[in-house]
Amino acid sequence: MAERGNGGGAKPETAERPRGCALVTGASRGIGAASARALAREGWPTVVNYRSDASGADRVAAEIADAGGRALALQADVSDPDRVKGLFASAEAELGPVLCLVNNAGMRADGLSPQITDEQWRAVLDANLDGAFHTTRAALGGMLRARFGRIVNIASVVGPRANPGQANYAASKAGLIGMTRTVAAEVARRGVTVNAVAPGLVETKLTEDVAGNGLLERIPARRAGTPEEVAACVRFLASTDAAYVTGTTLTVDGGMSA
């Protein structure tokens, strides 16, 4: 078998990863909290970012510490680029460069398109898409210098497919997948991977009002997923084992999109 050149790209990684921390946005509960716990179990010092739920974030950080990990709860609204700069400065001062970023912070403000207000449209795009861009931009410089980085964007099965009543949410998540692919292509040769995870129906606070309405019958697995099942995918994409996986979207939906 012919020896393969590396085309000028970063060398294949070994099991080693540089010293640095993981930052999970919107990590006070749900998928974000489960992802923070999963990354901490992998040995990442972990920033538990939150916007308003300080007690939830403190609880997640305490759970991580009780399990022998290292975690820090930091408040910041990621839709504000200045607050993101402050978040990264604090994270890096305490735990080192952010080499793993999970963009999970998000919200819904549902309504049929004619009834979505400018405020509802803007708020969802600001939180779900602009926020992820702000953090990605802040993280990439350090990742490029380290020749290592993992960015995992929590998208959704809504976006690639329709879901009436969620035009703003669908636009934000489809945009997030588009950003994932392009940023992945920009930085791949520096050992930085950028991927998305697209959950279907997952038991979280965000979805507690939508589990009825016959939705379970549309899921081949006949059940909702758990935050931990999504976090397991995040953990894989953040690992050194996933060094050659980039620009992809991993669907976690019990077969709903199959």
Binding site: G141, G142, L144, R145, E186, V187, R190
Partner: protein, 81 residues
């Protein structure tokens, strides 16, 4: 703590960073980024080095027209002034 910005300190740091990034050929003030095979992603990394080392932020508009290493050095010094 950021390093003091002088032409010498910036030159020294940028030359070293470019060599570490695998620049082709000799790094001089006159060398163009094209000659050194430094691409747009390398320039982004170089901007990060400048920010980390000197506390000077270089945006995309700042670096997009840079041709030579000397121009980059002078830009950093000018922005710090």
């Amino acid at each position: 703590m950021a390093t003091a910005v002088t032409t010498e300190s910036v030159e020294s740091k940028l030359f070293a960073a470019l060599k570490e990034m695998g620049a082709e050929g000799e790094v001089t003030r006159e060398a163009t980024f094209e000659q050194l095979d430094v691409d747009s992603l390398d320039l982004v990394e170089l901007a990060q080095v400048v920010e980390d080392e000197f506390g000077v932020e270089l945006g995309g508009d700042d670096v997009k027209d840079l041709q030579t290493v000397g121009e980059a050095v002078d830009l950093v010094v000018a922005k710090a002034a």
